[in-house]
């Protein structure tokens, strides 16, 4: 802006020759600086004479340059600056144990569930061996687990997964195994989609607050940007099409190319569930702008509220919109509590995306023995039904206890219907209603109350004071301990 005015002056003869020559000089100067920065460093800064004595070359460290890694690798090794990771690290130094370390830090920052471990354990001890070792005729045939198999996952696994996903989403939508690619977890699933749908420098719109891990999963290697679409507590943090529209237009003005929108539903960290109407509206919006929609439905089986969960697959199937722009990610880490197994899914209505994703799976596929276990597990319909019922019930119970406990302290939570966490409004405990105040509270929670909860800032929430608290790895007796610690902290803050 500032450059245009003097130029105009030059053209119109005002400000004249001085400005007219100054600006090109400045531009030239900056151009030189830019080019210098871009030029590759001298490739052999230490051009040593070829010597026949090898020991000479290798003995004096000072004269040999340190070899560099790529510029995209540099940020990866840096110590984490997000409270999300900082909190996780701190718990490791002093983890709470209800017997051996009652003063330790209680982990509320990791969205994991151990509520139905007893059921899974029982299944594993009864079925694990068979599921890996047995082939059709009951004899162990090592080739069934040792040899190369299609990277996108065994057909039987895709069939079992399709059936499983349909079941946990209420049986209202069916999934087609041929549109599915099995990945080594949800993390590679989202990255592969980002690689397929957007070029380096393009962007995804993403409603806030969002899962902090997306920052790494999407940005680390793809070069795709995330543009936040801010949501507010007044809407219970539900995204609106007008907010999307605004963000889209602003991005365009800035010269950013938006390739798609990324949602999580049930959402993380808030835990709300998008209504059928909202899903329809979002798809129409994407159609209008000709962009992709990516739905991370990783918590679809962890729905405990009254609100019905609707998969985007169901909306896409309903026909009046071009569904090749719809892509869904799923994984077993949350609903089935087995993140260690590393099994996720990319489900896409776009043939070419499925085709490209299949080929990219060579970099992130699931080991065959684990696939065999999963085929067995996911096809055990009786067990899955038993598990899902228990899972939902137990989350609901834990959720009620946790939220009630907070309520008694005068701390409200956002309405939520799914996920392994609740979105807690601790703004009444802030000394200043700001990001700074929130981070101070985060620190106090960690060091004084010894609780790790993820602050909204880590999730790019625009309103200060919100914290994500995961409760599905807690025993009932842990909850009063937590509430007590928070109460004490609250008292000390309020006094």
């Amino acid at each position: 802006m500032r450059l245009i005015v003097p130029l105009r002056g030059v053209i119109q003869g005002r400000g004249g020759l001085f400005v007219g020559s100054l600006i090109p000089c400045c531009l030239f100067y900056f151009l030189q600086l830019y080019l210098k920065g871009r030029r590759p460093p001298p490739s052999d800064p230490t051009e040593l004479p070829r010597t026949s004595s090898r020991s000479n070359l290798f003995s004096r460290g000072n004269s040999i340059g340190r070899v560099r890694v790529s510029s995209r690798a540099v940020p990866v090794a840096k110590p984490p600056d997000s409270p999300y990771y900082i909190g996780l690290e701190r718990v490791k130094t002093d983890p709470y144990d209800r017997i051996t370390n009652t003063d330790g830090i209680i982990q509320l920052g990791l969205a994991e569930s151990t509520l139905c471990f007893d059921l899974l354990q029982r299944w594993m001890s009864e079925n694990l061996m068979e599921s890996i070792m047995q082939s059709g005729d009951g004899e162990f045939d090592i080739s069934s687990i040792a040899m190369y198999k299609p990277f996108e996952g065994l057909l039987e696994l895709r069939v079992a997964f399709a059936d499983f996903m349909s079941r946990i989403m209420g049986g209202k939508v069916s999934f087609d195994p041929s549109k599915m690619v099995i990945t080594a977890g949800g993390t590679p699933a989202i990255e592969v989609l980002a690689f397929c749908l957007a070029d380096h420098g393009n962007a995804f719109l993403i409603p806030t607050p969002y899962y902090p891990g997306f920052e790494r999963d999407i940005k680390f290697r793809t070069g795709v940007e995330l543009i936040p679409v801010h949501c507010r507590s007044s809407d219970n943090f539900t995204v609106t099409v007008s907010a999307l529209e605004q963000a889209f237009n602003q991005a365009r003005k800035r010269g950013s190319k938006v390739s798609g929108i990324l949602f999580s539903n049930p959402s993380n960290p808030v835990g709300n569930i998008l209504s059928r109407e909202t899903l329809h509206d979002i798809l129409k919006f994407a159609q209008e702008k000709n962009i992709h929609v990516i739905y991370d439905e990783i918590f679809a089986g962890s729905v405990y509220g009254e609100k019905e969960f609707v998969s985007m697959a169901e909306i896409a199937d309903s026909g009046d919109v071009d569904k090749s722009r719809v892509h869904i990610i799923y994984a077993l880490s949350k609903d089935l509590s087995i993140p260690g197994f590393r099994a996720g899914v990319i489900y896409s209505f776009h043939e070419d995306v499925v085709s490209a994703a299949k080929k990219l799976m060579r970099f992130s596929s699931v080991s065959v023995p684990v696939q065999r276990i999963l085929i067995s597990l996911l096809s055990d319909v009786r067990f899955i039904e038993e598990y899902m019922t228990a899972h939902r019930q137990r989350i609901r119970d834990k959720h009620v206890r946790f939220v009630e406990g907070l309520k008694q302290l005068g701390i409200p939570c956002a309405e939520s219907g799914g996920g392994l966490y609740c979105w807690v409004d601790m703004s009444s405990l802030l000394t200043s209603y700001s990001e700074k105040g929130e981070l101070e509270l985060f620190e106090k929670l960690l060091t004084v109350a010894k609780i790790n909860a993820t602050p909204g800032t880590a999730c790019f929430c625009i309103e200060p004071g919100w914290f994500r608290c995961c409760f599905t790895a807690l025993a009932d007796e842990d909850i009063p301990v937590i509430m007590d610690r928070i109460r004490q902290l609250a008292e000390s803050i309020r006094s």
Partner: protein, 450 residues
């Protein structure tokens, strides 16, 4: 690139409303449209089977090791009480496996890998378990290292002939280029300092920044180990140019005589200077030596703390499931089993190699003197009508259609000499190998008659 017109439009307000995909998605760098895939297709459509389809296509293009399956089977069945190896017994086992998703990897498994890698090298080098980063296969390891060592449009120098998969693994998502280091039969395809300099200069002339050299040792497709002197020269070169050295040692356990293999680890072992060491990285996997490609277990072993830390974090895109780690940890720590396995596997591969080379010799065909791997490098140059790429592909097509053998032509490996073919021998029974040799004999006899 042959993109349909609508995909090239960059504006969002596209009246045709066909949504765009990325360059990565539409690129053909995955290589599956290349002519060699006709070979795979032919096999898929008409696969050889000893009993049911004895005239089908014999797959000699897949470097898979099936010669020692019986050893694995026996171990898994017998030395595995109550499925303990699978982690099914007891509460702690399952809990740990189910939740554990730390990109550091199970300590016991990393220790087992380090120990196994040491054994393969006859104890000539030590491996520190904390320098091991786990990835879902060597394919992922090579790609991950490339992301870390080079930026888009930078280059890695790779000696030819090389594994065709590198074109995809090193370049597709990374945007990094490969500049070939040309090697030829005049010195058994060994890398020379002149070839290195020439490749480096070629890159510089094209204004491409070279970030490292990537070798495979033992070599795929040559089936030969890299000489110690060459390794020393390579490290020398990398130090002078201040670039990285990646050694993919995925076939290190498949060396016929242990004494013939020198790992780059041995060269680096005696160097104290960190600035020399930290440019060296080794890739390994259980897919070839242990015949377990389905398990998807690969590693990056780096002498650079920074690369270890970075690779670890990036490995979240390609983790090995904790179940798999648990399963293999006990097997790989069982020294009695691994020593036995390594020794017998080597012997069997050597015998296979001798069988095929002798058989080919009797048919009048020479191979490069090999010392490792699951394949031999066969010279059919004398059969070519024209010593060109087309000439070679024509011959390859004849071998596929008439002999029903799927082998890999040298051009797919970017070999600068025409007429060389890689022939795999470890992914079939001895009988099948005999049949393949018989077909070759008959073909050569027919040819001689003309």
């Amino acid at each position: 690139m042959g993109l349909p017109l609508m995909m090239e439009r960059s504006s969002n307000n596209n009246n045709n409303n066909v949504v765009e995909l990325s360059r990565v998605a539409v690129s053909d760098t995955h290589g599956e449209d290349s002519p060699y895939f006709a070979g795979w297709k032919a096999y898929d459509e008409n696969p050889y089977d000893e009993t049911h389809n004895p005239s089908g296509v014999i797959q000699m293009g897949l470097a898979e090791n099936q010669v020692s399956f019986d050893l694995l089977e026996t171990y898994l069945e017998k030395k595995n009480p109550e499925g303990s190896m699978w982690g099914s017994k007891g509460a702690p086992g399952f809990r740990e496996n189910a939740l554990f998703q730390d990109y550091h990897g199970l300590k016991t498994f990393r220790q087992a890998m380090a120990s196994f890698m040491e054994q393969i090298r006859g104890g000539k080098s030590r491996f520190d378990p904390d320098r091991i980063v786990l990835t879902a296969g060597a394919t992922a390891a090579n790609e991950l290292l490339t992301f870390i060592l080079a930026d888009p449009n930078d280059a890695l120098l790779v000696p030819t002939p090389y594994y065709p998969g590198f074109d995809r693994d090193l370049r597709w998502r990374t945007g990094v280029k490969i500049v070939p280091i040309h090697c030829d039969s005049s010195n058994n395809f060994q890398i020379t300092p002149e070839a290195l300099e020439s490749a480096y200069q070629t890159a510089r002339d094209a204004n491409i920044r070279v970030r490292g050299v990537l070798i495979t040792n033992p070599s795929n497709p040559l089936g030969a180990t890299v000489q110690k002197k060459v390794l020393e020269d390579l490290l020398d070169f990398c130090v002078r140019k201040n670039i990285h050295l990646v050694s993919d040692e995925i076939y290190s356990g498949s060396v016929f005589h242990a004494s013939e293999f020198t790992s780059v680890a041995e060269i680096v072992e005696n160097i104290d200077d960190v600035s020399v060491k930290e440019r060296v990285h080794i890739v390994y996997s259980l897919s070839k030596d242990l015949g377990l490609p389905g398990f998807r277990v690969g590693t990056i072993y780096s002498y650079s703390d920074n690369v270890v830390k970075t690779a670890r974090r990036m490995s979240s895109f390609t983790l090995v499931s904790s179940q798999t780690q648990h399963m293999l940890a006990s097997m790989l720590s069982d020294v009695e089993f691994t020593e036995n396995y390594i020794r017998i596997n080597r012997e069997r591969l050597r015998r296979r190699y001798e069988t095929i080379v002798e058989g080919l010799k009797k048919a009048g065909i020479e191979c490069l003197k090999g010392s490792a791997g699951l394949f031999c490098w066969m010279n059919l140059g004398f059969l070519l009508e024209k010593k060109t790429k087309d000439g070679e592909l024509q011959l390859w097509d004849v071998i596929l259609k008439e002999l029903k053998l799927n082998i890999s032509p040298g051009t797919s490996c970017h070999c600068s000499e025409f007429g060389w073919f890689r022939v795999c021998f470890a992914n079939m029974s001895e009988n099948t190998l005999e049949i393949a040799l018989k077909r070759i004999h008959e073909f050569m006899d027919r040819r001689r008659k003309f």
